[in-house]
Symmetry: C2
Subunit: 327 residues, 2 copies
């Protein structure tokens, strides 16, 4: 028996507050950061980097959480599962989800571990380099997955970042099983090529076994299949997944389905200020369209609209109601 549908999309991810600062390429070199990547750091390294950093701005982030706010901003319904602590940054995170109408399921409280944060260095080329102190978000486990919420969402959306932790992998598998048991679809974003690299075998079996819709970019897809050619990677993902949507930067994206491979162009942006959230918001637009049964290229177009909005300003979430951008 299927539960009542309440949400277009239910997201599961690392609940993080972003600490965003600008720095030049010298900073990236000096502190041995890997430009464009996400690196997990411990408390000491996080404090060290934060001290080295210039003036910062705090904004709620977290990949899947950003995506859920995007779905809500288009006028869709969304819920989010991720762990925060009972501290100020946790309050900020919860507020910013609820403020846009996303149902927040923070999981069980876990003592004193603080809310996670992601130190984001934005370089003059608008690229973001992320150093994540996971904090309490790293304690997400199967017990935190609210089955009723998963069952009530048309599509489950999970971030590959979760795959850096065994308990979260279990939580992920559990959530996927609950979703499928209720006839829902399961989607995954690969999140980061280094993360894919660290957990390639698990990612591949997950994609084959559980994932109905795969999101990722070109680099992540090449890393997943350990191939050099995009065409080859596309052929492999077409074999493994019902649907894959692969972003290719300023060129837009490629939709890979049983029906074939179809490119959809990006929406041009006058000036790219900060690429943080580009993939997250692309997924938001796509899923908003998908849960409304729009043709796949229309879904991709919505994704492109949302991504264009978020890269044209600093911060990982839309600054305008995305539905106002629909003509």
């Amino acid at each position: 028996m299927s539960a009542a549908l309440k949400y277009d999309v239910v997201g599961v991810g690392n609940a993080l507050v972003d600490v965003i600062s600008h720095a030049d390429d010298g900073f990236i070199t000096r502190y041995e950061l890997v430009k464009g990547s996400m690196t997990l750091v411990d408390t000491d390294r996080a404090l060290f980097l934060y001290r080295a950093l210039g003036t910062a701005v705090e904004m709620s982030g977290g990949s899947a959480a950003n995506t859920m706010t995007g779905v809500a901003s288009f006028g869709g319904t969304a819920a989010y599962i991720g762990k925060v602590s009972n501290d100020e940054l946790g309050d900020v995170f919860g507020h910013d989800l609820r403020a846009v109408g996303v149902q927040f399921r923070p999981g069980r409280p876990d003592g004193e571990t603080p809310t996670g944060r992601c130190i984001i260095v934005v370089t003059p080329d608008a690229e973001r380099t992320m150093n994540t102190y996971l904090g309490v978000s790293s304690l997400l486990c199967t017990d935190d997955i609210h089955d009723e919420t998963i069952a009530a969402g048309k599509v489950l959306y999970m971030e590959g970042y979760l795959y850096d932790r065994p308990e979260a992998k279990d939580a992920f598998r559990h959530a996927a099983r609950v979703a499928h048991a209720h006839g829902r679809q399961v989607s995954l974003t690969l999140s980061d090529s280094f993360c894919v690299d660290r957990h390639r075998t698990d990612f591949r079996s997950l994609v084959t076994d559980e994932v109905d819709i795969l999101f990722g970019n070109e680099t992540e897809l090449l890393s997943l299949y350990e191939v050099q050619s995009f065409d080859e990677a596309v052929a492999l993902v077409q074999r493994d997944c019902h649907l894959a949507v692969i972003t290719v930067g300023a060129e837009g994206c490629v939709i890979v389905s049983r029906d074939g491979v179809r490119p959809v162009p990006a929406v041009p942006v006058e000036r790219v200020l900060d690429t943080t959230g580009a993939g997250d918001l692309f997924a938001a637009g796509f899923l908003f369209g998908y849960t409304r049964d729009l043709p796949l290229h229309e879904c991709a177009k919505l994704g492109a609209i949302a991504a264009a909005e978020v890269i044209s300003h600093v911060g990982p979430r839309p600054l305008v109601e995305l539905k106002s951008l629909l003509s």
Copy 2:
């Protein structure tokens, strides 16, 4: 005997983290806010307003603290005295001062009272309406004034917002006496016409007795002297103060000194996005020039440059190094 000079300017003020959100005029009406003003609120009201608010961004603020970051951003030296708590927002506040090279003297710790925050609603006309929960910043008292720091600054700069609390008034008087005892100058910004209105007698005696340089806008000056005519107010402040610099919105400012009254135009801005910090950064530019013995109209021009930068983006502090704007 005079202490060694270490700072161009030493600021004293309410240490606050700004919680900035956009809303329309309907929000202002619905929650009975006074547009353009600063209102002190208690914890319950702060929580109530925060819950009502949309997605927010957290940035360090506090009027005098903003001014000190502006002085540092021009290449000057600055210190700041204000109270934060040992919590996450307190850490953010301290980080953002130190990150730009401002020496931070946080005063004595005070138990569990959290760091203060200012809920700022920015309306589509770029006007900001502020609701301040002072938190631990309201406990600033004479004991928190670090005399050595005051003695080491060419100019002491204090915000009128402090004048809402008797202990802070005492701290203010104490700081002014320390500064004068070391041959330093004392400056004050009137901060808010409603605040001036509440404490007019005290403000007037302070201006006459202790203030060498007065900052304020037209409305605040009219409120200080309870007159209707700007010329009349200017004549009165000329009698009471060595130097007053009165901003008149988009028109710029008027310098009032023993030598006469001189208007200096504002720097045009393509699009005003958020007026938060305009007065704070104007004072920063002016004081940076003043502590370098520039002619007063040059000081005002630096103020105008800094104000133009800060109103052209969201947030109360400069996003670029202000010295890069000097030709």
